[in-house]
């Protein structure tokens, strides 16, 4: 019997292998080919022979995907060899002689709705800007991963509370730093748009004022005898929201005009020298 772990990693290996093949061909030199030139069989030889007979496109991406294939395949066959995640094996080892019935998912899950929203971002990206499209792709990948982990955690035990804790234990080390980094990136990007949009003098005042407000708010919270969680979250939310909204408005307005120092090319310098 093929175990759950085997199916997961073997599927991942197949996807990575197909991805490597497509990437290796698509990132190659297709100049001179017609619209469907990439179906030319000779384009595939290098990719399928791991570069032995013919070239591949972008080496780094191709190598990463091939190594992902090898790693996932290794894990898949190791898991099937040791009968991991196999209810029959678990029951036999545990001596119960019965396969425990799987429980249906009971917990709510935000990822289906997020997935639909990510698909909308992807579609909007297809008609607006490549950056929006890539954002949609990233969001869809995040949704797929989170959904997969949630689906596993929901069936891990019969206790929904224990399942929630299990999911948090696995995902929090990923989610908290990544979300934190994303939040910092958004704040930095928004703040930079604000500073670029206003006049030079105002930018200085804002750069001085914002840290003072942050420090002031922090001092006020620390000085409170029993700061409530809601108040802290509220203050932070309002502050971040204000910066992001102002950042969007500033990005829409555009940066102020900058005075550039006149740059001379080498040729201009030579002409000037000759003239002298």
């Amino acid at each position: 019997m093929l175990t759950t772990g085997f199916k997961l990693f073997f599927g991942f290996a197949v996807v990575a292998l197909v991805g490597a093949a497509v990437y290796g061909v698509a990132s190659g030199d297709l100049s001179g080919k017609d619209y469907l030139g990439f179906v030319d069989p000779s384009s595939f030889v290098g990719v399928l022979s791991l570069g032995w007979k013919g070239g591949v496109g972008d080496h780094s991406g191709y190598v990463v995907l091939v190594f992902a294939t090898v790693s996932a395949a290794y894990l898949a066959f190791t898991l099937v060899g040791f009968r991991d995640a196999d209810p029959e094996a678990v029951a036999r080892l545990g001596g119960s002689g019965e396969i425990p019935p799987a429980a249906g998912p009971t917990a709510n899950n935000v990822w289906p709705a997020f997935g639909a929203a990510a698909a909308v971002v992807l579609l909007l990206g297809l008609v607006t800007h490549a950056a929006v499209f890539v954002t949609g792709l990233i969001l869809l990948a995040v949704v797929a991963f989170e959904w997969m982990i949630s689906a596993w955690a929901d069936r891990a035990t019969g206790d929904p509370e224990a399942n929630r804790e299990l999911r948090t234990r696995i995902m929090a080390p990923f989610e908290i730093p990544l979300l934190g980094a994303a939040a910092v990136a958004v704040i930095v990007l928004s703040a930079s748009r604000i500073l670029l949009a206003v006049s030079e003098l105002n930018a200085v005042w804002i750069a001085i004022g914002i840290p003072i407000i942050i420090v002031g708010a922090a001092v006020a919270i620390v000085a409170m005898e029993k700061p409530s969680r809601g108040a802290v979250v509220g203050v932070l939310a309002v502050g971040v929201l204000a910066i992001v909204v102002l950042g969007i408005v500033s990005a829409a307005v555009g940066p102020r005009s900058f005075e550039h120092e006149e740059e001379h090319t080498d040729e201009e310098a030579l002409v000037t020298e000759v003239a002298r």
């Binding site: 991991d84 209810p87 899950n109 997935g115 698909a119 909308v120």
Partner: protein
Amino acid sequence: MTVTDTPPIAADPTVETPVLPASPLVRIANVITTGEHKILGRMYILSSLGFALFTLVIGVLVGLEQTDMGGVDIVGGNEAYLQLFFLWRTGLVFLVVVPLFLGLATSIVPLQVGAPSIAFPRAAAAAFWGWLLGGGLYIGATMADGGFNAGGDSDAIELTILAMGMMIASLLLATVCVMTTVIAQRTEGMSLLRVPMFSWSMLAAGAVWLVSFPVLLAVLALSWADLRGDVVVFFETGSGAPGSLRYLAWAFDYPQVFVYAVPLLGILAEMVPVTAARRQAMRSVMMAAIAAFAFLSFGAYAQPVYNARVAQQPVFVVQNLLLLLPLLVLLGGWAFTLVSGKPKASVSVGVAGGGLLMLLAGGGVATLRVFGRLVGGLRELGDWSWVDDISDPFDDLVDTAAVAAEFRYVVLAGLIGAVAGVYFWAPKLFGRRLSPALGGLAGLALVGGTVLASLSEMVNGFLDEPDIATDVAVDSGVEILNWVATAGLAVVALGVLTVLGDLALAIRRDSSDLDDNPVGGHTLEWATTSPPPHNNFAAPIAVTSAEPLLDEEGEV
């Protein structure tokens, strides 16, 4: 998990069902994150009824434009007219009727087959959100100068195509969930022949949706690729239907259009035996008739753009002539059941019966149009002048307003059937009874409006009004009939508004005395509480016939 980990523990039946906290924000979060099929079904129903109101208003605008054939004035030019026209036609199918049936099915099918939940509950949730957001995007893109005709904003046209694709893909996913529930989640003893009729009709309709909607998706993908590439095939301007509408027209014409109304037959097949208080006679024949009707509605192959002569080919003509036969078999079966039972009048069965009449009328229009093709085909066999005499009036119907008449009869029949289903299953859907008086009023408005909106278009077909009329010379009388048709659509919109109003009023209605089975139903959904609990049933139920509740009462 490795073998050294704790093995999975079976679900503990004593674990209490989570209770929704009182905070509105938490309630909203629960709704957004739910995989509970009853909540998803309710959201489908309410959203598609809201979309119905919007779509019908668009239909009224398009109709008002047709009340003056001298030019396009009201909506601001031909381009806007065509955008709204296509929004109205596609919206009625993919924003209203199909999701309305899927909403009913998402709620009711798991209860009917004795399952604790729908198959793939999270995929069902993703399907709902994908459809809802895709639908919003579709409307937004059309309004932003998109749509399916050349001349609009190319980005908005692209977005229209992509959004429609997202909507259809989501509906396909929802269909897969419903079909899997019927196939794989049935309770002990429930063979496929014992599946309740509505679930059976969803299985039959879903099978045809599953093989025809991907063709629609492929056409959309081609349209999109075409729009982004150098070769403009789909979006050329010229005579006939605009842009890619010609490539999508098969999905809104016979025979394909009939597949959107198949679940109406299942709903009526649930109601008639309940009304007659006896088992359905010749049940397996009735099931075969529903399946045959769905099978004969498959029309993805009938694409005149790729095969200009498809409508003259024997398979197409015979298929469309046969389409009415299963309906007649069903009619006979229901009549027999009603005559041999003790029928009690009810609003829901009356409304569903009205829907069936509309479907029969749509079938009649299709038969007339096919008859023209059939007789016209005889013309090719020899120089027979008498053929012309017979076929001319019917030949003219092929691309005229008769297309609109048939579309309205059939698709609005689906809407009427779904509304009847909402009234019938309201105790299970909302835990409330809906008002019979308001239901009757809504039914009258829906059926009466459909007759006005469709019959006048049928007459317009004989008066040579084209299906997409902008600035053309037509026989006198068309404009007046277009006023009548537009008024009919407005009446249908009022009917939908009445249903929404009744649902809003029902929230305040006291439901403490609501019985588990207030309608005397025969199938498993009536064996649980109103509304059903989490996991639907207190314990798994085994059945020994298609009408387990009648078995309990000892009825033969």
